[in-house]
Symmetry: C2
Subunit: 588 residues, 2 copies
């Protein structure tokens, strides 16, 4: 208990931060105080003028800056940044993010519990504190897609006791749980939920619930799922808060109206700001959780309230009793900033050690870690144009098909039915259409399903990606089967990745050899590659502010509208598969 | 997971509460809604007008009242009400209190871990939810008193895993911990504290810290002790909040200034209102936690904020995830009241069952439970006047003595030195003085220490009590040794209790045969007896608004000023014993 003695001044502290204003997110005040740090923890926060001087091994002059707690991201998928946890740490520590709540949903879809364990192991000895929530929806829609990994109740039970596992990650298939799906309910039970909240629950149970309202919302919450981070109107946010749901807002769902609606509630509802998915180029250009914080303040929230939403509120929600506040006994995760509203980290400490300064990470990821062994996950042979050709039910004529209809500027899709011409057995695409094909890369490697997509903007070429939510099978979209094969082969040759075929002469490839979804490179290299991909996509006509989400979510069977997996077209709302050609059954 | 199905309306709910306004302490709003209850939990809170009717086994018309969550008292000692947990439950359930955080500090001082276990067992099958914090300071000042029970690190370790044990109760001896007392630090470690807050801490660590400020306060908090419920000035409260301390206010420490100071902080600090110690007559006449709530509102706090301080805030502090809010998944602990500010429980439900109505408890304590076996704890022989006679160092003369000086109207005492006359070996008390004697009733039964007390008001007679904080040895105060023996013998004959000797002809006795500190009677009978005691005490000159605390805390060696235990006079501030006669050493 030397921390007590260090606090008393009986022992010299390791570091004394002087000349700072402390942002106290508990009381909401900002005032000058020194911060004494011992063995990684805050020993005291004190106004030095009134006290005898303190012995310290090191002194850090804070230059009059504001000291805030290290930021805590209560919900994200590191995989969305397409890098390993270590490379992710290098990129976000300089932004002031010191703890993240990782849902390893993508790696779990590829590799199951082994993938989660590999990621947890690779998160152990890095200065970023990566805490885990167990991916609860792998697959997100059982029977409607075939994933590489499956997380069931046994896997939840096996993981839930780990000290870095803080609960169950976003439960997505609310409809399935409400309908009585036994597998989903068993997962919920294994996570401590099912019949309400329990005092002895092993952790939190997080929700992903864009759809449920009224009695269905109540039932979902009664099952123990009491957070949400999906797109909601201000009215929906208030309805969820009234049901006791902890709200988590991400940047693309922020609005002045939503913030105003929540701030208008008489009591503080412990809002958390989160990132969910951040692409590598976006991270370098705009930022990460710090960007969500800035944007929230821009949209009208008081800076200290917003700061509490990325520090104390997520710490409490996640039962991280040692974090979220600059006060005695807490971990010395501290960020110095010049300004609260225009939040830019100047100096970042984790456990009392400076890990980043002036935007530079002082820590370097190891040359390789266990993540680099997660290769060989795209065991597909060379593909041909014939492999991407839809077989039509008639040789010539005009037939109705189901198609995936893009909603411009969003990642939503709708199910439409249109008539399409067939000539010599080949579908005649309209100008705004493309073929889409999903190829299984796991136990049923090579099996595939076809569809037609409209409104994506693609005018030429093709793209292929093994980063395709949630199953991360190989998804290929193109104007011609030949270009689709070319894109697919580029990805297969790279052992996973994203390839854009601009034309016969030009293919841009971002290799993602780790589980077929992560790069071996640092974020800046990944960002260069994603920028090149984005440029190539714009060249072939695909222009979207969140293009990575746009091109990788046609395959998401748990989401609304018409989607496609390796099994076939899926109408999630209707809860089942549909055939490309209307009136024919799935698999025909 | 039938709660989900009940919420959906697929199953009839057990109870539907209609025609109520729901006080949502999460958002701070009050609005009309029905509350659907199934198997003891809230399935849904819904505006019925917009929904299809719901099947319910029973319907309760709320009569337009406000439905609030059952009140949660985050810190108390049931023993202060001088009754068993079951009788306590009968008394507080009708007031709307449905969960209490019990620190069995008194019974632990008498009987150690066996006493705690007996009390926990007697709390199992009663509708009041009694959660336990392990008494951390038994004895409160080791070496300065001899108690019947001792709680050390082994006992903490043995108890901490119990599902109804939520942490470590008030750590009192901050000075001892800061000074490096190994036993105290080992207790702190066993409770999960010592070197700051831990993510995997087994529970909360509560503090009792009226004294520490500045670096000493920081050191105490750095040890993991981060709540406080002691008397503090508004400035001290703010200082503690700035150190991250969860503040708990009890009625006698409430003031308009304190509330205003905390409400002026920009952020909600999660204040909890608590009772600590409530005498049985006070409980019946004024109330319990409901009275603290009313008083807090009277003193200026917004009613919904005050309500949150007795519901959601304590639930969160104590990690009672299933309580504190009327929302899906939570326990159906619900109170119907006519008015929030003038809070008086009309109907009280625990786990969806009506347990009290119109001030009457519908549940009855069993005729006896395991508490009734905790007898035979006052193994003392008949006492004589000679047993209460102080031996003076000289036969005749005037000598300086240390005396316990009462502070009028408070429970504070000071150490004073006065000259006293001795005639024929007998101390000649001034009119405002009395003798005080503490007799061990445990392993060293019969051993005793003497002192002189001033300013208590006693003009005649004597009182004796085995309810005497914290060791609960037999404490006897009187004007003459003969009256002291009479009072002591009344208590010994009752196997424990409080006796007031008014004169030779009149002795009022309240038997407390359970551990020498608790009555076998219900609260109303105990209140009658305490009223009679209070009357008798006023007759002999002792008049104090909290007379039970006044007469039972001269023996509290952890508190400031001069105190007396079975070992001798204790100057807690100086950390050791002092002799009655100045310059003589303790034990001489």
């Amino acid at each position: 208990m030397t921390l007590i003695d260090a606090a008393l001044g009986k022992l010299p502290v390791d570091l004394l931060i002087t000349n700072v204003q402390v942002a106290n997110v508990f009381t909401g005040e900002v005032y000058p105080a020194d911060i004494a740090i011992y063995q990684g923890r805050i020993a005291a926060v004190e106004k030095s003028a009134t006290l005898p001087p303190r012995q310290a091994v090191d002194v850090l002059d804070g230059g009059g800056r504001i000291a805030v707690p290290g930021l805590i991201d209560a919900h994200l998928h590191i995989e969305s940044t397409l890098v390993t946890p270590a490379h992710f740490a290098e990129a976000v520590l300089p932004l002031g993010i010191t703890t993240v709540l990782e849902d390893p949903h993508e790696v779990a879809n590829v590799l199951g519990i082994d993938g989660i364990r590999a990621m947890m192991a690779a998160s152990q000895d890095i200065p970023l504190k990566v805490e885990y929530l167990i991916s609860s929806s792998v697959p997100s829609a059982a029977g409607l897609e075939r994933t590489g990994g499956v997380i069931g109740p046994d896997e939840v039970t096996a993981l839930i006791g780990d000290p870095h596992v803080l609960g169950l990650a976003e439960v997505m298939d609310g409809a399935g749980i409400l309908a009585g799906d036994e597998r989903l309910r068993a997962i919920l039970r294994a996570g401590g939920g099912g019949d309400g909240m329990r005092v002895d629950s092993p952790g939190v149970i997080e929700g992903h619930n864009p759809m449920l309202r009224g009695r269905e919302l109540a039932a979902f919450v009664a099952g123990g799922v009491d957070s949400d981070h999906t797109l909601s109107t201000p009215e929906d946010l208030v309805e969820k808060a009234r049901q006791g749901v902890v709200l988590m807002l991400q940047e693309r769902y922020l609005s002045r109206e939503s913030i105003a609606a929540l701030e208008a509630l008489p009591h503080d509802i412990g809002l958390c700001l989160v990132t969910d998915d951040v692409a590598p180029d976006y991270l370098l250009e705009r930022g990460h959780l710090d960007q969500v914080l800035r944007r929230t303040i821009e949209l009208g929230m008081d800076p200290m309230r917003a700061l509490r939403s990325v520090t104390l509120n997520p710490a409490r929600r996640m039962r991280l009793w040692d974090r979220g506040l600059i006060a005695p006994g807490r971990a010395a995760d501290i960020v110095l900033v010049d300004d609260l509203a225009d939040f830019h980290a100047h100096t970042v400490l984790v456990d009392g050690k400076i890990v980043a300064q002036d935007g530079r990470c002082l820590w370097s990821a190891p040359a390789r870690d266990g993540m680099y062994d997660l290769t060989g996950t795209v065991p597909l042979p060379q593909q041909t144009a014939a492999d991407f050709t839809i077989r039509a039910p008639v040789d010539n004529g005009r037939v109705p098909i189901h198609l995936i209809d893009c909603v411009p500027g969003q990642t939503l899709v709708r199910k439409s039915v249109v008539d399409i011409d067939i000539a010599d057995g080949a579908l005649q695409l309209a100008d705004d259409m493309a073929f889409i094909c999903v190829v299984n890369r796991y136990a049923d490697a090579g099996e595939r399903a076809f569809g037609v997509i409209r409104g994506l903007g693609i005018r030429q070429g093709a793209y292929a990606t093994t980063y395709a939510h949630d199953g991360h099978n190989l998804c290929v979209v193109g104007r011609t089967p030949a270009d689709m094969a070319r894109a697919a082969n580029a990805v297969i040759a790279a052992d996973g990745g994203i390839a854009v075929v601009v034309d016969e002469a030009q293919t841009v490839i971002m290799p993602l050899p780790i589980a077929g979804i992560l790069s071996e490179k640092p974020v800046h290299a990944a960002a260069d590659q994603t920028r090149a991909l984005g440029h190539a996509l714009r060249t072939i006509g695909i222009d979207h502010p969140y293009w990575l989400m746009r091109i990788s979510t046609f395959t998401l069977p748990v989401s609304s509208g018409l989607r496609i997996t390796d099994v076939g077209l899926v109408d999630a709302g209707a809860g089942g598969g549909v055939a490309v050609f209307v009136k024919l059954r799935l698999g025909d």
